[in-house]
């Protein structure tokens, strides 16, 4: 057994003797983990901010809310029942409605608030005379708005501006500059305005059946009791429409979209890590091939197996720690520009911080990952019989296939765990893993078959091509690695443009599109006829009104459909969504026939001959989610009345049609008497007509909310662009790793094959010919991976777009062409630089008696 200092001496020698290889090792790890580390910073910053400002984001220590009106009496009885002790309480009601200024009207999210709002945090404003202030109290008659509304309504002079909100005019008193309850407003549908609760009834906007979220926000005597109170409330109140939140439990606080984005970015970053590990595995094996003679000599000279293992482990540890420090330093340096990008482009007020916890987690992944990848080389080094040195059989020092398979399965499982952890979703993580393995296997199968097929016809080519092909065919390790890493990185880069284009083509209103221009909701029964007349008058169209009846599911086949609240250390997005989903009410409609945006996929459309139980039709995915199938009987609570429906058909709905679509449709003749509101859509009209219609409707029926579909779509497109950009940046990082591997392999192969090239020169090849052979060899593999990557990426995009989004595929040929141009240029650049050593070959070195074979792999 060697002393630690002696082992360190061996490690130092190893590190110094292979400087170039070690530098490749470090760069590979740095590149592979850069994206991952940056995301860890995002994640940690978001968690920290959510935790620090949980009360401000949630609005209180405890919040009771519902997507309906909660009366003061109802809330008082809740407080008494659980003996809720609080310092202060505030009420808020959120709903969509139209606001009008002059000839401009816009859909806004209105929040009416009572005394004591906000319970936590400060509402910062800029008053109409340009002063910064903190809003303490919202006086009746005042309105505060988001900055973008000022532009949208074309308000040039804010002083003495009156905004029409429902039936009353409110004075604009200031612009909201910071609202802690809306920290993350990624992709919000409409701007936000704040009014006093005392003005709410006068606006006449909230009517029976209106979509309104009421919240009661509490500052508790003992904030630490929030969880206990939440649990108590949930135990005592089985009404699923009521939702209870505690600031002590991490809540999305409106940043769900952002978290999803981070989850998906995390998955893309895993591809970089996967490619980096692939390359690492190759490099470690390469190290081992170079070092095995030395290891055998050490063994013969008496160095024991455990010392050999320790030297290897220590060396890899040094390199990994060095890589981690470098990657961390780069991330810290990048924080300022990324912060600026978040502030100015994404408008996400998140303060990026590097937390010790996240550093520790990343450290373990970056440092332990390579150790895991190195296991086969450790085992090979330990089990290598030094007698092989005498028998010149060192090339036989490798592991059994069984051990390699066990190791590969172990690495795969751990990577799968990493994918689930990174995506916070068992389903997404697993699909990602299956996709990644599928793409890798497809690429590997393709190149293996092609190698074998080419071997059969290689003699038919001229010498240059034949030699290039033979070098590829006979060096399957490096050929397959280059091909798979390049293909996978091109696949990742190909996916986003196709998916983005397909979504954009689907939602962007075009002349041929069947997407409506205007969508109206919260239409009251007594407003129906006059609204139809207004629309006819302004647009010439006869609109159809679709009824909406609010309800909640009580039972499915007499089984209670209960509230689900999962506790635990690790919550997946699915479990969080499931809890949220089950506690939400459902909207019902009724109609006699299918719409254009719907297709029957199972069962039979309403026959009217189902006896006592009414017939209902479910959207197929929704049925799957609630666990209902054909023939099941669902019981709904419609305003206190139990109504049963038997599932007689399942429908597929094209949601991006922007038509009034519903998950649950009743046969006519059941819900007609229930309290209901209506929705409607106005098809293709121009923006002038939209404005005229908006103004006319707002003037007559202030409570009706109108979405200008084209504007909303444009806004969504900006949002999609932002998300796609973030994902594309991360995907580019994967490509950089792929190219890095390409560069490493070309450089090592050129280095290893210098003697081979010298020999070919002795045998009569010219330098130009050798240059041509090598360029041909590497361009062939690079362009083949580019083509297969593009093809495979397009196929996977097609699968994602049609299976997940249920859309038709639109291939983004422009992006693909740009990608080809960029990648081909980079490939040629890389090849040109890497092949420089071929320009200064010295065949005379062959007479200097070095090496027995002119290449080693």
């Amino acid at each position: 057994m060697q002393s630690f200092s002696k082992l360190l001496h061996f490690v130092r020698k190893d590190l110094l003797s292979q400087k170039k290889l070690n530098a490749f090792f470090v760069f590979n790890l740095v590149l592979g983990f850069l994206g991952f580390l940056l995301l860890q910073v995002f994640q940690a910053s978001l968690d920290q901010q959510t935790k620090d400002k949980a009360q401000e984001i949630l609005g209180g220590d405890v919040v009771i809310s519902a997507r309906r009106v909660i009366t003061d009496d109802e809330v008082k009885s809740i407080e008494e029942k659980v003996n809720l002790e609080f310092i202060k309480k505030a009420k808020s009601s959120d709903f969509f409605a139209m606001v009008k200024f002059g000839e401009q009207s816009r859909l806004v999210l209105i929040r009416s608030v009572g005394d004591n709002y906000p319970v936590y945090g400060d509402l910062e404003i800029k008053t109409t005379d340009g002063k910064k202030d903190v809003l303490k109290n919202i006086t009746p008659g005042a309105v505060y708005v988001d900055p973008e509304l000022i532009d949208q309504l074309k308000i040039t002079d804010q002083s003495s501006t009156q905004l029409r909100v429902g039936d009353i005019d409110l004075s604009l008193k200031g612009v909201l500059t910071s609202d802690p309850s809306r920290t993350f407003r990624l992709g919000a549908l409409a701007p936000f305005i704040l009014i006093s609760e005392k003005d709410l009834s006068a606006t006449n906007l909230v009517k029976p059946g209106s979509t309104v979220t009421t919240s009661y926000l509490y500052q508790l005597n003992d904030p630490m009791a929030a969880d206990a109170i939440k649990a108590d409330l949930e135990k005592n109140y089985l009404d699923p429409s009521l939702r209870f939140n505690s600031a002590l439990q991490e809540d999305d606080g409106g940043n769900r979209v952002f978290r999803y984005l981070i989850d998906y970015l995390g998955l893309v970053s895993l591809i970089s890590i996967g490619l980096c590990f692939l390359c690492l595995s190759y490099m470690l094996n390469w190290f081992f091939q170079i070092q095995k003679k030395t290891i055998a000599i050490y063994k013969i000279l008496g160095l024991d197996e455990s010392s050999i293992l320790k030297v290897q482990v220590l060396k890899n540890l040094f390199l990994s720690i060095g890589s981690f420090v470098m990657a961390l330093a780069i991330v810290i340096l990048a924080l300022a520009p990324v912060q600026a990008l978040l502030d100015n482009y994404f408008k996400i007020p998140i303060n990026l911080i590097v937390s010790p916890k996240q550093i520790l987690v990343s450290f373990f992944v970056v440092v332990l990952g390579p150790q895991l990848i190195a296991i086969p080389t450790y085992l090979a080094a330990m089990t290598m019989n030094p007698l092989m040195l005498l028998r010149q059989e060192l090339s036989q020092a490798h592991l059994s296939r069984r051990t390699q398979i066990i190791w590969a399965v172990g690495v795969g499982l751990l990577f799968w765990g990493l994918a689930v952890w990174q995506s916070h979703s068992l389903q997404t993580g697993s699909i990602f893993m299956v996709g990644l393995i599928g793409a890798t296997l497809t690429a590997w199968l393709f190149i293996s078959v092609l190698r074998r097929a080419t071997a059969l016809v290689v003699d038919k080519f001229n010498f240059d091509l034949k030699y290039a092909f033979l070098s590829l065919i006979r060096k399957p390790g490096s050929t397959d690695l280059i091909f798979m890493t390049m293909t996978l990185s091109v696949v990742v880069l190909t996916l986003l443009p196709h998916i983005k284009k397909s979504i954009i083509e689907e939602v962007r209103p075009a002349h041929s599109s069947k997407i409506p221009s205007v969508f109206m909701f919260d239409i009251q029964m007594d407003q129906k006829d006059e609204l139809v007349k207004i629309v006819k008058d302004k647009t010439g169209q006869d609109i159809e009104l679709t009824p909406l009846v609010r309800s909640r599911i009580l039972k499915i086949n007499e089984q209670n459909y209960e509230r689900v609240e999962e506790q635990g250390f690790f919550k997946t997005r699915e479990s969080e969504n499931e809890a949220r989903f089950r506690n939400r009410g459902v909207n019902l409609t009724y109609k006699a026939k299918l719409q254009e945006s719907e297709d029957l996929v199972e069962g039979q459309w309403f026959t009217g001959q189902n006896g006592e139980v009414s017939e209902i039709s479910l959207e197929e995915k929704y049925a799957e989610r609630v666990g209902a199938k054909l023939g099941d009987v669902m019981t709904f609570d419609v305003q206190g009345l139990e109504i049963k429906g038997k599932v007689t058909s399942l429908r597929r709905v094209r949601w991006t049609s922007f038509q009034p679509n519903f998950f649950i449709t009743f046969q006519p003749g059941v819900l007609e008497e229930a309290p209901q509101v209506y929705l409607s859509a106005v098809m293709q009209i121009n923006q002038d007509q939209v404005r005229e219609l908006q103004n006319a409707v707002v003037d007559r029926f202030a409570n009706i909310s109108i979405i200008n579909v084209q504007q909303s779509v444009e806004k969504s497109l900006v949002f999609i662009d932002q998300m796609a950009l973030a994902l594309q940046v991360m995907a580019t990082l994967a490509l950089v790793v792929g190219f890095f591997i390409f560069i490493i392999l070309i450089n090592t192969q050129v280095g290893e094959r210098i003697n081979e090239m010298n020999l070919l020169q002795v045998l009569g090849s010219t330098q130009d010919q050798l240059y041509r052979i090598m360029i041909t060899q590497f361009s062939l593999i690079a362009f083949l991976s580019l083509l297969v990557g593009l093809g495979l990426g397009s196929l996977i995009s097609y699968a994602i777009v049609s299976a997940m989004f249920k859309l038709g595929i639109y291939f983004d040929y422009v992006s693909m062409l740009s990608l080809i141009v960029v990648l081909v240029s980079i490939t040629f650049g890389v090849l040109k630089v890497s092949m420089q050593p071929l320009r200064s070959l010295q065949p005379l070195t062959l007479l200097k008696n070095e090496g027995g074979l002119v290449d080693s792999k």
Binding site: Q392, S395, F463, K466, Y467, L470, S471, R474, K475, N755, E756, L759, L760, Q761, V762, L763, G764, S765, T766, Q769, P843, L844, L846, L847, K848, N849, E850, G851, G852, L853, V854, D855, S856, K857
Partner: protein, 227 residues
Amino acid sequence: MITINQLSKSYQLTTDSSEKMTILHDLNLTVQTGEVVAVVGASGSGKSTLLGLVSGLDQPDHGEILIHGKSLQSLRGNELTNFRASHIGVVFQQYHLVSHLTAFENVSLPLEILNKPVVKSDIIELLKQVGLGHRLDHKPTQLSGGESQRLALARALAIKPSLLLADEPSGSLDSETGEKVMNLFFEQVRLHNTTTMLVTHDMDLARRCDKIYKLHGGVLHPVSQAM
């Protein structure tokens, strides 16, 4: 016939000094067609330099090398490469085989580079002659040292060279294997009547050649076979 006239070669000692070391000085040699000559000498005497010049891989400071009347110094660029590859075969001490090619492919490699037809039966015959008829599809990593050197010899002979240059061909082999390989070497060069220059420090090996020259002080001195 190979004729070397007043061949000189010197090297700069370091890149930043103008001081030169003369390796070969007005060296002369004539080798008749089919003759096998040995060049012996101490390490550093310039044996490899001489091989480099005769093989056309290096250029002399002055002097001339004529192979069958053609001056190597009159040829430039691709013309020289082509002439060299067509007329000169080289056997290296360290074999220098292409590891990813089979024995058959290694032997046919020089013909393919020269765009000469690869006659399968000729290659197989050549491999049989060096005792590798059963190893056609084997890669160099699957061959022993002796087999590798025999393969290298077959490759050098594949182009039917006018001149065969051998640089310590048994230097990496044990004495027994080395002797077997050299037996084969002489058998083959005699069989093909190949003009050969063998560089070695093994006097026993040198004595098997038709003539022996000792390289000393930059010039070749004939050595008696009886020495």
